[in-house]
């Protein structure tokens, strides 16, 4: 039953290396920590986008991620006001985590930074006045402003901006943009706070820290002001909520599977000994997978852990088959002994059918999970790596540890399992008796026709995660009272120069008319040509013969202030506020909405909520250099493409498996056993569709695992044909463990995990049924598709 000594030694060394690697990584994780990611973008496929689109997507994502909004509501405005002050006060004590996006402070800061460029920046109205070139009007306007009481608080002092042109310019920008922050009273009974995260949401621990801080603020505030309602909105909250429910899932799946499988094994093996190996193999498998992730990426997505928890049902199979056949062989040996045979019972080598079956089983599982790596959805890729690592390490553990445990007699309740097999056989017998090629083909065709008729797909990435209803309700409330951008939608403009880009954006906005309001860099700065033109127009005011000099002198302004003003004007002659400079100057105040890539200049234009999106899309499609981006739709298309290509790959996988079976067994009958997982796949899809589910990429990828598990059963049926009774019992037992694990996964709160779990659950249940049917036919010589040889 054990491998040859040489192979055994290799296995032991490898096992030791794995254990040492785990110990080393565990220490490293203990000292350096390990990041469990919960970003929901892991469910979105990586798209084959251009560099510019990738940058644009990451910018918009950062804008969405790095802000949260808090809304306070109360019937009594006075209570609301005090509660708001308390919140602001409390927020300052968490300034390393959160900072209120103080629009007034931001505006003041921006004014300071861009005021040297003010002579090239004009509001539309002031530009029209200058274009009229009427010195009298300019003089009157200056006097009016200087005498007006409202100029007391104008943005720049009178002697720096006597016509308050810069004030008008900033005011005009602010009417178009909410990028500098919003907040304050949004009704008699509501107060809104836009809060910036002080660290990247993706940085380790930040998400939890933000949530804990806001939870703390909410608890304090609602305890102090019971009549105040606290609502929140932000990616950080949804991600944390997803993480929390995923963690609960992991607990549920691992504890549920663990208890269920342990009880099952205890009942069957009647001792704890055989239970220790599967437990050890699970721990080593999961430990190795975690260690690999820690060493390679130092992080793991929480959804990967959810999926990974279902591995319990897979890795346990190796122990089950090992002990089952070991015990069976012991029984045979003891029978042999009684028949005066002195040949040792466990004299086997690597060519022994069980070893070959276990090895092939490992390969099929690795291939099944490995197929997930073909997807571009990062969470599926990491599930592939996690599972393959876990399975290999678990298999190795079984190979090394099981012989040690098996030295003691392994007793099992074979009769009990046989009763289950008999029951299944009894239930399936009527079907098995009719299991003819013609009927299988006809049934398959019939189901395929039905599937084609009712096939329904779901590729919307939003359906893969569950969002808390309470958080969604709070978000809706906040969206109703604040200026938010259309989520996941924006316009990307491209040009060869800053000016061409700004012109393009301006034209586009103009063409949209009232169809949509956009947030772009064009809201903030005019083109360099316009700035130069504005500066030239200002010479009438600030130039050598400028009207303002006379006005200020006549009114008695200090000569040095007048001189400073003219100096400022003259020195601004060579200064133009280009995109790069503006991005630099507005850093941390306005999100950078322009960038360069591949010698082209790009600008993002975010779309304010309430826009006529069809119009924006239509216009963008008809405008050269403008692209309408809807990331959800792009992801949907990509997921659809992957789902379709995954189906194609699944067909190829079946062909490959059939070819492999032919090469190994050179028997048509053996090849025909591929019908087991194929039938399971078709029946699973049929049942899913009949139950009203739409097929997604996660269902499709799970079908690879259905193939892998089905292949396991084929392999054991074929390889262990001399022990078909024991093999079938082991298959039933291992299928039961898989069904427990994937059954719990099917109860996950993460829809993607749910889809995966339910597919494997149904698929594997059908795998088991069809396997039992085939075995029944073989044993009773009633079927046409028997593996070579038959036993009683």
């Amino acid at each position: 039953m054990s491998p040859s000594p040489a192979i055994n030694t290799i296995f032991r060394w490898l096992f030791l290396a794995v254990v040492l690697f785990i110990v080393f990584s565990a220490y490293s994780m203990w000292t350096n920590g390990f990041v469990v990611q919960s970003s929901m973008t892991a469910m979105i496929p990586e798209q084959r986008n251009s560099e510019a689109l990738k940058i644009a997507n990451s910018r918009t994502q950062a804008i969405a991620e790095q802000n949260i909004v808090i809304l306070l509501e109360a019937d009594d405005p006075k209570t609301l006001s005090v509660a708001a002050d308390t919140l602001l006060d409390r927020l300052t004590s968490h300034k390393d985590v959160l900072a209120v996006n103080d629009s007034q402070k931001n505006i003041d800061e921006l004014i300071e930074r861009i005021k040297p460029y003010r002579f090239g920046l004009l509001s539309n109205n002031d530009k029209q006045i200058l274009l009229a070139k009427d010195a009298t009007i300019l003089e009157e306007n200056a006097l009016e402003n200087i005498y007006s009481i409202s100029s007391a608080t104008q943005l720049l002092p009178l002697h720096a901006d006597p016509l308050n042109q810069f004030g008008h310019y900033i005011e005009e920008r602010l009417a178009r943009s909410a990028m500098l922050g919003s907040g304050g009273d949004v009704g008699v009974n509501q107060k809104l706070f836009t809060v910036k995260l002080q660290q990247s949401l993706s940085a380790p621990g930040v998400q939890l820290q933000v949530n804990n801080t806001v939870d703390e603020l909410e608890n304090e505030l609602t305890a102090q002001f019971p009549s105040v309602t606290f609502s929140r909105f932000g990616v950080a909250f949804f991600a944390e909520q997803a993480a929390r429910s995923a963690k609960a899932d992991v607990n549920r799946i691992s504890i549920g599977s663990g208890i269920g499988i342990s009880l099952l094994l205890l009942v069957v093996f009647r001792s704890v000994g055989p239970l220790l190996v599967p437990i050890a193999s699970i721990l080593i498998g999961v430990g190795f997978a975690l260690s690999v992730f820690h060493q390679l990426f130092n992080e793991l997505h929480v959804f990967t852990i959810v999926f990974g928890a279902s591995l319990i049902g897979i890795v346990i199979d190796y122990s089950i088959h090992y002990f089952y056949h070991y015990a069976h062989q012991q029984d045979l040996a003891s029978s042999h002994k009684q028949a005066h045979t002195h040949e040792p019972a466990n004299k086997t080598d690597t060519k022994s059918p069980l070893m070959r079956a276990l090895l092939l089983s490992l390969l099929t599982s690795v291939m099944g999970y490995g197929a997930l790596f073909l997807s571009s959805v990062s969470v599926l890729k990491s599930i592939a790596v996690f599972s393959v690592c876990g399975i290999i390490a678990a298999w190795l553990s079984v190979m090394v540890l099981a012989p040690l445990v098996a030295k003691n007699a392994v007793k099992l309740r074979a009769n009990l399992v046989q009763h289950v097999v008999d029951l299944l056989s009894y239930l399936i017998a009527p079907l098995a008796r009719r299991i003819q090629l013609k009927s299988v083909v006809l049934l398959t065709l019939a189901m395929l026709i039905v599937i084609a008729g009712i096939y329904k797909a779901e590729d919307d990435p939003r359906t893969f995660v569950h969002l808390s209803g309470d958080l969604l309700e709070q978000s809706r409330k906040i969206n109703d009272v604040s200026q938010q951008f259309e989520p996941g939608r924006y316009v990307l403009a491209q040009a060869e120069s800053d000016d061409a880009l700004l012109e393009k954006l301006a034209q586009f906005s103009k063409q949209l008319d009232n169809g949509a309001r956009l947030e772009s860099v064009a809201n903030w700065i005019p083109s360099s040509v316009d700035q130069a033109s504005n500066y030239a127009l200002q010479s009438m005011v600030y130039g050598p013969a400028g009207v303002i000099i006379d006005v200020l002198t006549q009114l008695g302004f200090a000569p040095e202030l007048i001189k400073q003003l003219t100096t400022d004007y003259n020195s601004a002659g060579n200064q133009t506020l280009d995109l790069e400079t503006f991005n630099r100057l507005s850093e941390n105040l306005i999100a950078p909405l322009s960038f360069t890539a591949n010698n082209q200049v790009y600008a993002l234009a975010l779309i304010y909520a309430g826009a006529d999106l069809d119009r924006v899309q239509q216009l963008a499609n008809n405008t050269n250099g403008i692209r309408y981006v809807y990331s959800v739709e792009d992801s949907r298309v990509e997921l659809q493409r992957q789902r379709v290509s995954a189906l194609g790959m699944l067909l190829l996988a079946y062909l490959a498996v059939a070819t492999l079976l032919w090469l190994v067994y050179r028997s048509f009958k053996s090849v025909s056993l591929v019908l087991i997982p194929l039938a399971s796949t078709i029946i699973t899809v049929f049942l899913l569709l009949m139950s009203g589910q739409a097929v997604s990429l996660f269902h499709t990828m799970a079908l690879f695992l259905v193939l892998g598990l089905g292949m396991d059963y084929i392999i054991f049926l074929t390889e262990m044909k001399t022990q078909s009774r024991a093999t079938l019992q082991a298959i039933v037992l291992s299928a039961a463990t898989s069904l427990i694990s994937f059954g719990f996964l099917a109860l996950s709160s993460v829809p993607a995990a749910q889809s995966f779990g339910i597919t494997v659950f149904i698929g594997n249940a059908v795998n088991l049924m069809v396997t039992v049917a085939v075995a029944y036919s073989a044993n009773n010589n009633e079927g046409a598709y028997l593996f070579n040889g038959k036993t009683a």
């Binding site: 007034q104 931001n106 003041d108 539309n124 109205n125 009481i149 608080t153 002092p157 907040g183």
Partner: protein
């Protein structure tokens, strides 16, 4: 009534906060200051008047006129710039703040929440900036005296004179403090504005307009009232009475 005023103030405050503009604080203060007695805000108008925004204009007194003089100290100079003018308030229509000498600047804040500037050229400009909206609402609301509204923006310190210190750091950067001194028949307001020059405003000769001499229907009283007040009644009164005709669709 107070609740309605408060509602208006909140709306305006919101628009201010959205764009963070604080220019208006001065005017807020100016009108508010007049309405303030130590810690409590009073109406700018004579004590006998009982202003109610719920008043539809039919129940006098609901219309007032008064005079003001404003002077500004120029930074870096000993010179002062002084301007004079008059204001009109109709609780149904709104406020006209008319600077007449040495320059002409007419600001019209209507109860319809639309604000305008009329230049000497008689060109009317719809003021769409959030700061203007804020000023307008606060000025109108202040006519009824609203301590709560004021104390939202300012810390009210009562001593011999009432002092208002802006709560916002951004406002405080430009507007250090405002003091109000009520005298016999006038109010004196000092605006410590720093960079743009301190301003002193004197408000005097505030009188209720008596419509008893008129035989007009109540709906015509405001028209008569305005006609008899403004230097440029044709555009100014029309704007006050029919602001919708002058509302521009959007900012360019």
């Amino acid at each position: 009534m107070m609740a309605e005023v408060f509602t208006s103030l909140r709306r305006v405050y919101r628009s201010c906060c959205v764009c963070g503009f604080s220019v208006t604080c001065l005017l807020v203060f100016i009108v508010a200051a007049i309405t303030v007695t130590p810690v409590m805000a009073q109406s700018l108008l004579p004590e006998s008047s009982s202003i109610s925004l719920g008043d539809n204009g039919a129940n006098p007194p609901c219309r007032y006129v008064g005079k003001f003089e404003q002077s500004r100290a120029l930074p870096g100079s000993n010179n002062k710039l002084t301007a004079t003018g008059e204001f009109l308030y109709s609780c149904k229509r709104g406020l006209i703040w008319e600077v007449r000498e040495p320059v002409v600047e007419i600001l019209i804040y209507t109860q319809a929440q639309a604000n305008f500037r009329v230049r000497k050229s008689l060109k009317v400009r719809h003021l769409q900036g959030p700061a203007d909206a804020y000023i307008g609402q606060i000025m109108l609301a202040s006519m009824s005296g609203d301590t709560e509204a004021l104390s939202k923006e300012f810390e009210l310190i009562s001593a011999d004179t009432l002092s208002l210190v802006p709560r916002s750091a951004l406002v405080a950067k430009r507007l250090k403090k405002i003091t109000i001194d009520h005298r016999d028949n006038e109010s004196l307001i000092n605006v410590i504005a720093g960079g743009t020059g301190d301003i002193t405003i004197r408000i005097f000769d505030v009188n209720a307009w008596d419509p008893s001499t008129k035989n007009d229907k109540p709906s015509n009283l405001d028209a008569d009232f305005c006609q008899s007040f403004s230097l440029f009644p044709k555009p100014v009164c029309r704007v006050l009475l029919k602001p919708a005709d002058y509302i521009a669709p959007e900012l360019d």
